[in-house]
Symmetry: C2
Subunit: 342 residues, 2 copies
């Protein structure tokens, strides 16, 4: 095992709709896949370790269990989350990252709670206002990284610029040199949009980044830029409506293709190709949204994520930790301080 | 011809990417389809009538041409639009509605210009703040009517309530009794969202309407409500990103289904069913967005609308005029004045 590439990951075993069984199973899959991975599962009682009974000891030896007093409800607000603090499984996970006992944290708990506790426990990187949630959206020819997806419902121009910088760092980490950036707006023209996007547009033009100006909603899926920036209210609704549309199309196509012998035979023959295409747009295939801007690596897993999707979130956390994403964001934010300070 | 059901429609022949030829052809299709329809085409010079040469005289007798001095660029701002006023084809169309010479107007010109000139020329209904653009989004089992789609980038709570009332009137016109209404937000819980959606939520609960609370992006396509309400910035991005996703999926499915003999034979057999499903999500099949709240019927056609799509916008205008949508909106806004006044 190479110490340089090893990752100590902490997982919130009690976030998520499926309970600790799925998260434990995903941890087992992850240590099988990553030979230098060590996982700590944090849950409010001792029953998580029971899920590992019968598994290969060479794998379970890299998974340990830490008890937490309580878990957070999915509906918990920021105040409730902070009050529970590190008595909760989520809070304890974040504390382990803050204390240097873990390199990265994955939780499928409430985004609101993760953000409140993340800011409180890890703190923001110097010069950054608020964290942002990012996701990779499938597009023609690859992916578009979009942020924010709901961590900030109201933003100012400086925050949009900070989102752009954070997104560019993650894209560069993915191997894209000099990633292109767009600000989402109701039109491509400079005269379009409200004052926040227009001021962000002006600030972006002062930075030595590959900024391409305003983009429209359709440009996300056309793959026109690597990074698409918007406020969290809009980003959340764009993401969830797209997921809903993809789900509906898959459902309607299945119905259409079971509606007669021609369709059924056709579907049997073409099924593999159809499935491959539609799976690329399955939200579960793209799980793991980094919460960027914190002084540590935190990845939000979808509440409804199953075993395979949870492993995706783990992969995301491992990559971010290995590429030192928080440190690289700090470098750029400091370098561009003149533009990113309000 | 029944005078009671006749409609005098005015069309901006110079809005739209395809020029007056497509709009004239659509006018011809529309008078063929609606025996009591009379169309006035407004354009900046005399060449529109040339497009009708050779057409059936029993149809062309119900199409007349009115010249306008100029047309508006797609990038024109509100100031430029108002300065051009009724010297422009769009402005002249709106003036004919204001003067009672036409019952409804269709334009594929700039939304910004249509809104500025619409407010200036027709005026708002009493008690309404600003017009809103509405569209029908395909959903499981039918359609969701969504507004605003870009006419108002920043809104307050009263405006969201007014959008809800206007959407409900149009839905009732479509034959849906007591249409259900939701406010788009980042979660279903009452504690979610920013102050504007939360205040609108409280106001909506005071109205005797079928209000269902907050809905998420995925609920638009799941058909959870008849009317989905949001600010125009978010609505525009949700609509355009969904159109982009649908277009990308159609393209990728076509590629996938031409990739080998099994897929190709399968696609040939199942092609009809596939096409039927995908066409339901083709934006061109759902053209014609009413600009609601004005003292007159105005329908925005997509800039890229072709002949068939333009006819859809004409159908929308005819239905709205026939059902007296502005008058019915005025009734409800006046009845609910206590809640819809800020």
């Amino acid at each position: 095992m190479n110490a340089a590439s090893s990752t100590r990951l902490v997982m919130d075993a009690y976030g998520g709709d499926h309970g600790p069984g799925v998260i434990t199973a995903a941890a087992l899959d992850a240590v099988k896949r990553h030979s230098a991975l060590e996982v700590t599962l944090v849950g409010p009682d001792g029953d998580v370790s029971g899920n590992l009974a019968g598994a290969d000891p060479s794998l379970t030896s890299r998974i340990r269990f830490v008890p937490a007093e309580t878990s957070l409800d999915s509906g918990v607000g920021p105040v409730g989350a902070i009050r529970a603090g590190d008595r909760s499984s989520m809070g304890l996970c974040l504390k382990m990252v803050a204390d240097g006992e873990a390199d990265a944290c994955v939780s499928a708990g409430s985004t609101t709670a993760l953000m409140a506790l993340g800011v409180r426990t890890l703190g923001m990187l110097h010069g950054l206002k608020r964290p942002a949630l990012m996701a990779r959206i499938p597009s023609t020819g690859g992916f578009t990284s979009m942020l924010d997806l709901g961590a900030n419902l109201n933003v100012d121009a400086v925050q949009l610029v900070q989102f752009a910088i954070m997104g560019a760092v993650v894209c560069a980490r993915d191997g894209r040199e000099n990633p292109s950036i767009g600000i989402l707006n109701v039109g491509h023209e400079e005269t379009k949009g409200h004052s926040v996007v227009r001021e962000a547009h002006e600030r972006m033009q002062q930075l030595p980044l590959n900024y391409r100006g305003f983009i429209e909603g359709s440009d996300i899926f056309a793959g026109r830029v690597d990074v698409a920036v918007c406020d969290g209210f809009t980003g959340n609704l764009v993401l969830k409506s797209s997921e809903g549309l993809a789900r509906m199309l898959v459902g309607e196509l299945k119905n259409a293709l079971s509606g007669g012998w021609r369709s059924r035979i056709g579907a049997a023959l073409a099924g593999g190709a159809l499935r491959g295409t539609l799976e690329r747009f399955d939200p579960a295939q793209h799980n793991g949204a980094p919460l960027l801007g914190l002084n540590g690596v935190v990845v939000k897993s979808h509440g409804s994520a199953g075993r395979a999707a949870t492993v995706q979130a783990v992969n995301e956390a491992i990559t971010e930790a290995g590429k030192h994403v928080p440190e690289r964001i700090q470098e750029l934010i400091t370098r561009f301080e003149a533009v990113t300070n309000s």
